[in-house]
């Protein structure tokens, strides 16, 4: 399926929605996306204050240059719809729906988003969506969820709740093996991005990088992060090597030459190159432009 976007989404930094200091300064860390959290990181008594704070933070000029995501509360709670009313009106780029079990959850969300867009005069369809899968049924339904809306830009696996549902616990990654593969395949089938779980042992760089290497090789676009320190580590791990950049440049040059000469077939060093290889080369150069080559 054709990819909907070539935007880089390696790092999605979680910020507690009730924390004024972090909301005011997080842009300096330059993650690919910033995710204001109104769900688990906010206590029940501060749901109202966090919603209003995020409403205003979304409108700060410093966040115009960075993709903003808000994790709302589930729509079956007293908070979810109120969160949605606030963030769509405030101009959020992407709404992240937690605990998505079935495509009907996304249909319900999309209907509300479209109504709010019409009410506030925002372009219909401009609010993008992503779903977090946090249960066995969510993983089983991942393809249906990922393909449930044209607004979907990604699907994320949430490890903690998933492990609880599976009656296991976080360990060496084997407990997430099936879910990681299922969610990634769903994303690729839908032509959207896939985001891996958070790595909560923030002082364990070695363990973090081992997990990043695994998900990068699997094909994940990126990872949800809970500590700004992890951003540079992640970006460097996703940066291409100099050899990969050199090869990508030659692929693009060959593709440009073939187009210029009106050739239907692209060849490099006697080997035929097709569109997926050209796309892969574009992604490689995009990652190199964002964070250089791997150190």
């Amino acid at each position: 399926m054709e990819e909907k976007t070539l935007k880089l989404r390696r790092s999605m930094l979680f910020l507690p929605g009730a924390n004024a200091a972090m909301l005011s300064t997080a842009f300096v860390y330059k993650p690919d996306s910033i995710m204001f959290d109104l769900e688990d990181a906010v206590s029940l008594r501060e749901k109202d204050s966090a919603r209003i704070l995020v409403f205003h933070a979304l409108q700060l000029p410093v966040y115009r240059e960075i993709e903003t995501v808000v994790r709302i509360n589930p729509l079956n709670t007293p908070f979810g719809l109120k969160d949605l009313e606030a963030v769509v009106r405030a101009g959020v780029d992407v709404v992240r729906l937690p605990k998505t079990d079935k495509p009907e959850d996304v249909y319900e969300l999309e209907a509300h988003v479209e109504r709010i867009e019409r009410e506030c005069g925002r372009e219909v369809g401009s609010t993008k969506l992503m779903a977090a899968v946090e249960s066995a049924i969510g993983v089983v339904n991942a393809v249906a969820i990922a393909t449930s809306s044209k607004r979907m830009i990604g699907i994320a696996l949430a490890g903690f709740d998933y492990c609880v549902d599976m009656q296991t616990e976080r360990g060496d990654g084997s407990e997430l093996f099936y879910a990681r593969c299922a969610v990634l395949h769903a994303a690729r089938a839908a032509g959207i991005d896939a985001f891996d779980v958070v790595y909560s042992d923030v002082n364990n760089d070695e363990g973090f990088l081992k997990e990043v290497e695994l998900i990068r090789r699997l094909g994940y676009n990126g990872k949800s992060l809970i500590n700004p320190r992890q951003i540079e580590l992640l970006h460097n791990a996703y940066a291409p090597t100099e050899e990969e950049v050199d090869y990508a440049r030659r692929v693009i040059a060959a593709a440009d030459a073939a187009e210029r000469d009106g050739l239907g077939v692209i060849a490099l060093n006697g080997k035929m190159i097709d569109a997926p290889i050209v796309n892969q080369a574009q992604r490689t150069l995009q990652r190199a432009q964002a964070s250089g080559t791997r150190k």
């Binding site: 924390n19 004024a20 200091a21 909301l23 005011s24 300064t25 109202d48 204050s49 209003i52 704070l53 409403f55 205003h56 933070a57 409108q59 700060l60 109120k82 009313e85 606030a86 009106r89 405030a90 506030c120």
Partner: protein, 97 residues
């Protein structure tokens, strides 16, 4: 919006502010602002508070604001939250905010 009970919003953490609001016995508006940066930004803080009260049609109440270097957006958010809590208001007209 009418202040009908005491309420608090915000924190005393750096880059935040704490807003305490209470009903006014004589239907007047009293605003006290304490800030470590009152000399540099006192006028601006007061302007943001006044604008926020006006947008929510608050004409009476006692406000004590302890600022810890918050941005304007945080000041607006905390004052609005305190007002909504003090007014017992659960439904919002986001256009007013």
């Amino acid at each position: 919006m009418k202040i009908i009970k005491e309420a608090i919003a915000g924190t005393l953490e750096s880059s935040d502010l704490l807003v305490k609001v209470a009903p006014s016995a004589d239907a007047t508006l009293e605003i006290i602002i304490k800030s470590e940066v009152i000399k540099q930004f006192g006028v601006q803080i007061r302007r943001v508070v006044d604008e926020t009260l006006a947008k929510l049609d608050v004409t009476a109440g006692s406000f004590l604001i302890e600022d810890k270097g918050a941005l304007d957006c945080a000041i607006r958010a905390r004052v609005q939250t305190a007002i909504l809590r003090a007014a017992g208001c659960d439904e919002l007209d986001w256009r007013k905010l």
